[in-house]
């Protein structure tokens, strides 16, 4: 075949035009949604900002869960389908620990301290479970085709759901929060203390996470492993331990989200993890999967969009359509901008 010369020029001249069209259409959609939200913020500010605060609350929980997805995807390119159910188990454990065992249901210094102890315990438990799942299942499948770990994650999600079903029953349970139904009002917008606590715990956790990933030795090892496992191994990095650490970090974030969920939303349901996990994953993709700041940004965006939709501000929307709205965002995003808001487009390695 030596006489055949591969022509360098490829018929790609119309490609940029198409990309411009696709990008333009996507931007137009985003602009329409943002414009509509601004319009609502001016015409019905009370309802809009109530929904906005609610969205911040939900968004910080989504951000914590989304971090677990994005960390794991960043390092081994696995969509960890069981992560949402790990979060669900965390809510169940948190309710048993904080409410039933500690009895922390009214606002006092002791209750807050118990809550913090509960937070640490549930974070540890969720991290341990996630590391165990990695050790027992995903590690063996690391060199297998992508479908295998994905289906394993789905199987694990079923097992977790079974755990939730056994411990929480088939219905929904509602738990008392330390700060339930008490708050303050700023400019006509009611803000619950629980929202303040959720955001007050989430932001330091997120900053801690970013510090760990960007400034510590372990974080450097994580980034190196994400780039090239073999090269990282050659540089003396214990790849197995690094991946296990990443799973642990993600699990701990899900555990924290579980405790905060009990304190702010306050309900447990065995099948809640699947839907919330997917919302969080949508958030991770929206921000740009594999990026920590992207997961946080996406989490807040999805939380706000969901709350605004649930408050009935969108015409034809409402609570009943929230899955359609969130998954609609996911699908549009996949079609128009799969790399997310902060991500950069990657080409496939051959």
């Amino acid at each position: 075949m030596s006489q055949t010369v591969v022509e360098a020029a490829e018929p790609r001249s119309f490609r940029p035009l198409r990309e411009y069209l696709v990008n333009g259409l996507g931007l137009l959609l985003v602009a329409l949604v943002l414009g509509f939200l601004l319009y609502k913020a001016f015409t019905t500010p009370g309802r809009f900002f109530d929904a906005f605060v609610d969205g911040l609350n939900k968004g910080s929980l989504y951000a914590l869960i989304a971090l677990g997805y994005t960390l794991v995807y960043g390092i081994i390119e696995l969509i960890n389908f069981s992560h949402g159910d790990l979060f669900m188990l965390s809510t169940v454990v948190a309710s048993a620990l904080v409410v039933t065992l500690f009895g922390a249901t009214s606002a006092s210094v002791g209750a807050v301290l118990l809550l913090l102890v509960g937070l640490l315990l549930v974070m540890t438990a969720a991290a341990t479970l996630n590391v165990a799942a990695e050790r027992l299942a995903y590690r063996r499948l690391r060199r297998a085709p992508k479908l295998a770990p994905l289906i394993t994650a789905v199987g694990l999600s079923f097992v977790y759901q079974w755990g939730g079903l056994r411990s929480n029953g088939s219905g929904q349970k509602v738990w008392p929060s330390i700060f339930k139904n008490s708050g303050f009002t700023v400019g006509g917008v009611h803000i619950e203390w629980s929202t303040v606590i959720v955001i007050g715990v989430t932001i330091p956790l997120l900053l801690l996470m970013m510090w760990v990933v960007q400034n510590t030795r372990q974080g450097k090892a994580m980034r190196a492993t994400a780039q090239d496992q073999d090269a990282a191994r050659l540089m003396g990095i214990d790849v197995d331990r690094t991946i296990a650490f990443t799973f642990g970090l993600g699990g701990a974030m899900a555990g924290a989200a579980g405790v905060l969920w009990i304190e702010s939303i306050g309900s447990t349901r065995w099948d809640a993890g699947f839907r919330l996990g997917l919302y969080a994953f949508t958030a991770a993709v929206l921000g740009g999967i594999g990026r920590l700041d992207g997961a946080v940004l996406g989490g807040f965006l999805i939380g706000i969009v969901e709350s605004v939709n649930a408050s009935g501000l969108l015409p034809g929307g409402g609570q009943a359509w929230s899955e359609t709205v969130v998954f609609g965002i996911l699908i549009l995003l996949m079609v128009f901008k799969p790399e997310g808001i902060l991500g950069s487009p990657t080409t496939e390695k051959v």
């Binding site: 994905l150 199987g155 097992v159 079974w162 899955e323 359609t324 998954f327 609609g328 996911l330 996949m334």
Partner: protein, 418 residues
């Protein structure tokens, strides 16, 4: 460049003529037919004329209604196998096609739209003068075409995505479409789907010219009522046979080989001139059409349709059937579907009852359903990734390369060679 084309190494071992080699080549189709005939004879004549422990045993462990459900799930699993097993496109929202097919049947075979009065060889139930009543066999075709269109519509913008992104988008559709049906009782004031109440009752399956074959030992009514389970079994088994036949024939043809090529290496396939988009869309359309046919069967067997039937877990159970049976191998998938749906529908419950009555411990086995399915998926992936009855090609592709093979191409592995 002179190259001799060698015959493919794979293929049936014997290509001789004569009845025995022919039977050996077609052992699975013959087995399916024989099993179906055996079941029909057993339930129609043998068990009906017996009394005592044997019919009781069958009634408890393998009632015909459960067998019919198993076959319907097998139809849908064979459809999903085209998308996942043949073309390698992970679809986590297959339940959407099932729902679309089911609602097509609901709209076209009931008195739901009572402002219209349409009947095309219809068999309206008594007391339903209005509504759209189209013959079950026509609805099968209509629903197949309808869901295939939806498959194209969903696939067209999304199929250029890579594996796990595609899985997510299909999952998104698998959630949106049932939610649409659930909220569809008030679409700008119009009741399209009757929401959570669902559409019921549905028209019966007509037997057409076969009713004139009715005889004393085999009465065939003009419409199959709720107690004609053994005749419904024939109907569903025939549809399953048709679906399996189509799926096997397509696999042998140009399209099927293109699917396998895409599954194994998309880039290489496109370099060899396989049109990626068109081939993937075809997989989606064919898979969706079979899902729609399965949806019609399911709806007609249950007699109603409601949005609650279409959960993510149904998509996963279908996927588990495909994975358990052996991705890509139609017969394996069918066996996987029959086994899993039997466990799901009747097996676990009866096993629990038996253990409860034998030991006195009250074990609620169906509550272990999720654990059993999850464990099956995980253990299969860990220890037998290619499924119970793998296709020979799948086995090669899904097998992890050996340590020696990896090191021979330059990989440097740490750790104990496990």
């Amino acid at each position: 460049m002179t190259m001799t084309t060698s015959p493919p190494a794979t293929g049936s071992p014997s290509r001789g003529s004569g009845i025995l080699p022919w039977a050996r080549r077609n052992v699975w189709p013959l087995g399916f037919t024989a099993a179906a005939v055996l079941f029909f004879v057993l339930y129609q004549w043998v068990l009906a004329n017996m009394s005592g422990p044997v019919p009781d045993f069958f009634d408890r462990w393998l009632p015909l209604s459960v067998v019919n459900q198993c076959i319907i799930w097998a139809i849908m699993a064979v459809g999903l196998n085209i998308v996942v097993g043949y073309a390698g496109l992970l679809d986590l929202g297959y339940v959407a096609f099932w729902a679309i097919g089911g609602y097509t049947a609901g709209w076209l075979m009931s008195g739901f739209f009572d402002s219209a009065t349409v009947s095309v060889f219809g068999h309206a139930a008594a007391g339903q003068p209005h509504g759209i009543h189209i013959n079950f066999w026509l609805v099968l075709i209509i629903a197949g075409v309808h869901t295939a269109l939806w498959g194209l519509l969903i696939g067209a913008p999304t199929l250029r995505l890579k594996s796990d992104y595609l899985a997510l988008v299909t999952l998104g559709f698998g959630e949106i479409i049932p939610e649409f049906f659930k909220n569809g009782d008030n679409l700008g004031g119009f009741n399209l789907t009757n929401g959570t109440r669902g559409i019921t009752p549905l028209d019966a399956i007509p037997t057409g010219p076969f009713q004139y074959l009715s005889s004393g030992s085999l009465p065939i009514p003009a419409e199959l009522g709720p107690f004609d389970e053994s005749l419904k079994f024939v109907v569903y088994a025939l549809i399953a046979a048709f679906v399996i036949f189509v799926s096997l024939r397509i696999r042998e043809g140009r399209l099927g080989r293109a699917w396998l090529a895409i599954r194994e290496d998309e880039l290489a396939a496109s370099m060899m001139g396989v049109p990626l988009m068109r081939t993937k869309l075809a997989a989606y359309a064919v898979g969706a059409a079979i899902g729609g046919i399965g949806g019609v069967c399911y709806t007609s067997a249950v007699g109603s349709i409601a949005a609650e039937d279409f959960a993510f877990s149904s998509s996963i159970i279908l996927l588990a059937m495909v994975v358990l049976g052996g991705m890509g191998n139609v017969w394996g998938v069918m066996i996987g579907a029959l086994v899993l749906q039997w466990i799901n529908g009747n097996g676990l419950k009866e096993l629990g009852n038996t253990i409860t009555s034998a030991t006195g411990h009250d074990i609620n086995f169906p509550s272990y359903n999720f654990l059993v399915f999850g464990a099956i998926l995980i253990l299969m992936m860990l220890f037998r990734r290619e499924g119970l009855l793998p296709e020979s090609r799948t086995r090669q592709v899904l097998q992890e390369p050996e340590r020696g093979q990896l090191e021979s191409v330059g990989a440097d592995l740490e750790g104990d060679p496990a």
